[in-house]
């Protein structure tokens, strides 16, 4: 059962090996780095950096991340439903399988409409 994941593991090691080795080769072959105060400063179109190097950003990004977690889980729950849908149809349980998913999506739809009404997804301001 799990041995079908063995090639994935091998590919992971090959891909990691490729990434690490190219970085190492670049260190070995590349021109050795010299630094000075200007070169060490953050890039700001040629000017000296002004202010905090991590500016504050809109709280909307956090809201988006939280909404993502909720709705991505919804998507993942839909996959097994979608895959078994035809089997339920063949057994004549169409109404049950259709309305159960409608209920699940309906509950999340309330949350979605609430977020929409609250302006969580509006970037106008």
């Amino acid at each position: 059962m799990l041995d079908q994941y063995l090639p994935v593991l091998m590919q992971l090691s090959v891909a990691t090996g490729f990434a690490v080795s190219t970085l190492l080769i670049s260190v070995l072959l590349g021109k050795s780095a010299k630094s000075n105060a200007i070169k060490d400063s953050a890039y700001e179109c040629g000017m000296l950096p002004i202010g905090d190097d991590k500016p504050r950003f809109s709280v909307k990004f956090y809201v988006i991340a939280m909404l993502f977690v909720i709705f991505d889980i919804e998507v993942v729950f839909m996959y097994p439903w979608a895959v078994t849908f035809k089997n339920f149809l063949a057994n004549g349980q169409a109404a049950m399988v259709f309305w159960s998913m409608s209920g699940f999506v309906g509950i999340l739809l309330v949350a979605y409409l609430y977020a929409l009404k609250k302006g969580a997804l509006s970037w106008k301001s």
């Binding site: 994941y5 670049s26 890039y43 190097d53 993502f68 259709f98 409608s102 999506v105 106008k124």
Partner: protein, 375 residues
């Protein structure tokens, strides 16, 4: 022995197919953009020490050597560990997602897919969403305003479009009732591609009743899926994370030499694998159109056995379809202007989210109505 075979497949896919394809899609991008903008583009680098230019086909190799030989500089103001980790974290998931893509039918009785998992699309989403870490870390560890803004924008864009990507796939799974990508391609080979269901007896289309009705939700799913792939790979018209006019280069502003090249390679590899996924799900993967597969297999006498030449044709067909999609990606990039950030979020969260959700219920409704027995 199976370990050796899968090792050969992995090495072939990564080093003979994906990486050269990445290098030459960069070359193609530069040449095509030059044609679109009425420039010449890179046409000089051919065979070294001769005057043979070969349309500049040596350019990607020269670029690669240049990336390796450039000064390997780590700025003093960055967080060193995560700064070095980020490029690798972008590259590895991009190369890992191709493990479940079937790139051919069979060659000498061996399935042309690295890992024939029963959870293909789930695996791809799981791994592809890891690549957001590389971008966030690059933006955060660089300690620079432009990198930081680029990283925040990019992560929020990628997670937003992941939802419409996932939702647009549900109708496809409803139609096929299958999560194994190899099986999905086999079904399409026998019964018609999802967007071209015109041959075979149409077993998955219920004998042809819902064949044409399902074309409509399949097409909507295709549009949403393709556009979301554009957003996931951060390409125009969704390249907000690195729009040059606002953020210099976005999350890789502070990167140079091979570390920058890994971001670049990862982005193009993600584009190629995204094209491969679109082709696999909607356009029949490696299969030939109009039932030619069944015809050619019957011609050889044994309809269960795939001869080696047909296996090679299948691999060639898959690559040809992927190349068409890469050219489409390039064409779109040099044709459309960039979205504004609020437009991008509106498209992802309001238009695509609702369209994909409605599309699921349309597909389910069509399936119920055409298959009757709703008692």
């Amino acid at each position: 022995m199976p370990i050796l075979i899968s090792f050969i497949k992995i090495v072939m896919v990564i080093f003979v197919v994906i990486l050269p394809m990445v290098a030459y899609s960069v070359w193609a991008e530069r040449r095509v953009s030059a044609v679109i903008q009425e420039r010449v583009g890179p046409n000089r680098v051919g065979i070294p020490f001769t005057k043979i230019r070969l349309f500049g086909l040596g350019q990607p190799i020269a670029d690669g050597i240049k990336f390796l030989l450039k000064e390997d500089f780590t700025p003093g103001h960055v967080n060193k560990f995560y700064y070095w980790l980020a490029p690798a974290l972008t590259m590895v998931p991009a190369l890992l997602t191709c493990a479940v893509l079937p790139f051919g039918s069979e060659l000498f009785g061996e399935k042309m897919v690295i890992a024939d998992l029963n959870v293909g699309p789930l695996f791809i989403f799981a791994i592809a969403s890891l690549s957001v870490y590389g971008i966030v870390l690059a933006g955060w560890a660089s300690n620079s305003k432009y990198s930081f803004l680029g990283g925040v924008r990019s992560s929020s864009q990628m997670i937003s479009y992941e939802i419409s990507l996932g939702l647009s796939l549900v109708p496809v799974l409803l139609i096929f009732g299958e999560l194994n990508l190899s099986e999905i391609v086999w079904e399409q080979s026998k019964n018609g591609w999802l967007l071209l269901p015109f041959w075979g007896d149409g077993a998955i289309w219920n004998g042809g009743v819902d064949r044409f009705f399902l074309l409509f939700p399949a097409f909507i799913a295709f549009i949403v899926f393709t556009t979301s792939i554009f957003a996931e790979t951060n390409r125009l018209p969704f390249d907000l994370p690195e729009c040059e006019t606002e953020l210099v280069a976005g999350y890789h502003t502070e990167y140079s030499s091979m570390k920058f090249a890994l971001f670049f390679l990862g982005e193009y590899a993600a584009m190629i694998i995204g094209s491969g996924l679109i082709v696999t799900l909607f356009l029949g993967g490696w299969s030939l159109p109009f039932g030619l597969d069944a015809y050619l297999m019957n011609m050889t006498g044994d309809p269960e056995q795939i001869p080696w030449w047909l296996g090679l044709i299948h691999i060639g067909t898959f690559l040809a379809k992927v190349i068409v999609f890469i050219l489409f990606f390039i064409w779109v990039r040099w044709t459309l202007p960039r979205f504004r950030y609020d437009q991008l979020m509106r498209l992802g969260w309001i238009i695509f989210f609702e369209l994909a959700l409605v599309n699921i219920f349309i597909t389910a409704g069509i399936l119920i109505l055409t298959r009757g027995s709703a008692s």
